[in-house]
Amino acid sequence: MSTENKIFVRAVACVNPFGGTAIKHHEVLAAGYAAPDLKIIIKKLYGQPLRQASHLVELGVIGALTLNQSLAKTPGESLPQATRLYSATGLGDVSKNMKLFEQVSPPRCGLAAPFDFINSSANTTAFYVAKILGLNSRNLTISRDEFSLEVALQTAISDLKNGACNYGLVGGFDETANAACPHFLQMAKDAGAIPGQGAGWLFLSNQDKEALGEVNLVKLISADSSMDTEAWSGAITDSLVNYIDSDRPICLLPGYNISQSECGAMTEKLRNSQVQDYIQYSGAYFTAAAYGISRQFVSKHGHDRRYLHIMKNEAGETMCVLFRVYQN
């Protein structure tokens, strides 16, 4: 097992706008409730509302504030000012975009409302997170459709492993409930999931102090039309060889575009691993992986557990995230 260049998870947060348990979240999504006004939660966490911030900004900020609060529970722990911020969003502030098009198009042909315009900038959430948490280091907003979170995570891990920074805050957030995005809706339908919204954040470090776990690998497996399911699952498990050290099973977290047969092939390769279909309770949104991954660190475990998150995109590429949650 490779032990060098480990990247540790120091704090996490996963939020959905409805609060409550995963089961409750699924119930409210299924019942079609509109997402609640998040300003009350912001006020509770931050002490004041974010004036003119959009729902998406609030969603991202609530996740980051929740993480910061959980970190502060450990004496002496806080987010260092030099923490690099890597935020991921697949659709950005899609509801604001719609509103803006209607403001400037016929019959209105008016001016874009200033705050709608500001909120439509994909990096506005990252700005507010940095401002509220006092971070002034590198600040990136990255997008790659359903791989957005994974690419942000990969970028952070590269920086940490190469010593470009010691701390990275990685988050994914999206809202899709009002988005009539055909590609996304099809993807959610294929996953048998209800469109939702939420955020997940991970505070990473190359130092193991007070770590909750570690991220071992973020890897892209290229699309290869000649690969059948067996070869595909073999290619994934081959890439994990250096990171698996025992007979302990790995819990599989399937993201989007993973078929039943692919899921079956992977569980077989991973010694009959458990499968956790997290999208069923997170709700479907482009960066739901952020929620699915961070949630595993919140759950109580009597022993160390390893997880493999896998996701495919429409081009047939696969993105894998292997991580370990320490006994807590």
Binding site: F101, C109, F117, N136
Partner: protein, 386 residues
């Protein structure tokens, strides 16, 4: 850190297709702005813009994909890189593809189909990836007007760390009614065109352009080593003063410049010239001037600004201005700052009013965006007499 170099460029701008025409126009000091014609907007007198000639392009997403393919083809040809690009990444720097979604929205507005507006990056990027057979990492950076500058920094770092052999960085920005009227709502447009660092400056002038650069390790092969533009490093920091305006004292701009110089292992005194961001907005230019004065003091190198020539191409300006600047340097000159006439005594800087001869040396490029997103790049240009 390993140095990287730019081995190919491609551009479609208000000057047309390719970089050669840019050098020719900028050598004469020609800026190419005109009144907005692409669509109708309230307060039309404010919309002095730099438009791409889209007469041969499709509308909607299809037209944006054509522009992507056009600029990447130019860059690959110049870099002499053959398809498929299995060992190549693609990083796109844009403020967001809302301009493309808006174009698609206009295409369908009579049919009432609003789904087009819920576009995502892959609608444009995936066809491009498939067309060129790009097998490396692919993603977009959305950090407002610093987007493609940050994309250059990330590409440079990925190559220097050995994560991929080469990266195509595309800066992409189209004109949009939302962006134009959004800046107008914020009272950030100058109806007389942008006047960077000028005493009478009063705002931005928006432009559209697509640019592509190929970045490779400097020791990739002997041919690349002969390339004239080397990337030494860059940095990105966040100014949390305000979501749309910079700290007036320029402190974070100063820090990002200093960090970029440190990353590149270059001292301020080694900088041959500066390509400033210079949007022409009163606040941004004030902060940038303060930052430059703090870093360079009395030994201020020559400063040029390209915003009047191309318009502010927002997320694309990192790539577009790198290509424009490189074209001018290769043609033997550092361009004058179009739009600048009268010094602002409060700024204590005066950009070039006449072009000067290009010489080999290090230079600094600044890019500052909304959300306090600041990037600075340090490069080296080696002049070869044609």
């Amino acid at each position: 850190m390993t140095q990287t170099c730019i081995t190919g460029t491609g551009i479609v701008s208000c000057f047309g297709v390719g970089a050669d025409v840019i050098a020719s126009e900028l050598s004469k000091g020609h800026s190419n702005e005109k009144q907005l014609s692409a669509f109708k907007l309230q307060d039309s007198e404010y919309y002095l813009v730099n438009e791409i000639d889209r007469s041969d392009l499709d509308q909607g997403y299809a037209g944006e994909i054509q522009l992507f393919i056009n600029v990447i083809k130019q860059a690959l040809e110049q870099a002499n890189v053959k398809l498929p690009l299995t060992d190549c990444g693609l990083i796109i720097g844009t403020s967001g593809f809302m301009f493309a979604a808006e174009s698609e929205f206009r295409l369908h507005e009579h049919s009432g189909n609003k789904t087009a507006a819920a576009g995502y990056d892959g609608l444009i990027i995936n066809p491009v990836v498939n067309y060129f057979g790009i097998g490396g990492p692919v993603f977009s950076v959305h950090t407002a007007c610093a987007s493609s500058a940050n994309a250059i920094i990330l590409a440079h770092e990925m190559i220097a760390r050995g994560e991929t052999r080469r990266v195509i960085v595309v800066g992409a920005e189209g004109l949009s009614a939302v962006a134009l009227s959004g800046f107008q709502s914020l009272m950030l447009l100058d109806k007389k065109g942008c006047r960077p660092f000028d005493n009478d400056r009063s705002g931005l002038q928006i432009g559209e352009a697509y640019g592509a650069i190929i970045i490779e390790a400097k020791n990739n092969n002997t041919e690349n080593e002969s390339r004239a533009l080397t990337i030494l490093g860059g940095e990105n920091l966040c100014d949390t003063h305000h979501v749309t305006s910079a700290s007036p004292d320029g402190i974070m701009m100063q820090q990002v410049i200093q960090q970029a110089l440190k990353t590149a292992d270059i001292k301020p005194a080694d900088i041959n010239f500066i390509k400033a961001h210079g949007t022409g907005s009163p606040d941004n230019d004030t902060a940038e001037a303060a930052a430059l004065n703090s870093v360079f003091g009395q030994a201020m190198p020559p400063i040029t600004v390209l915003k009047r020539y191309f318009g502010h191409t927002l997320g694309a300006c990192g790539v577009v201005e790198t290509i424009g600047l490189f074209a001018c340097l290769q043609a033997g000159f550092l361009p004058a700052t179009a739009g600048f006439k009268n010094s602002d005594p409060a700024l204590k800087i005066s950009p070039l009013t006449k072009s000067i001869e290009a010489t080999s040396g290090y230079f600094l490029s600044n890019y500052f965006g909304f959300g306090g997103n600041y990037a600075a790049l340090v490069m080296h240009y080696r002049h070869e007499t044609p």
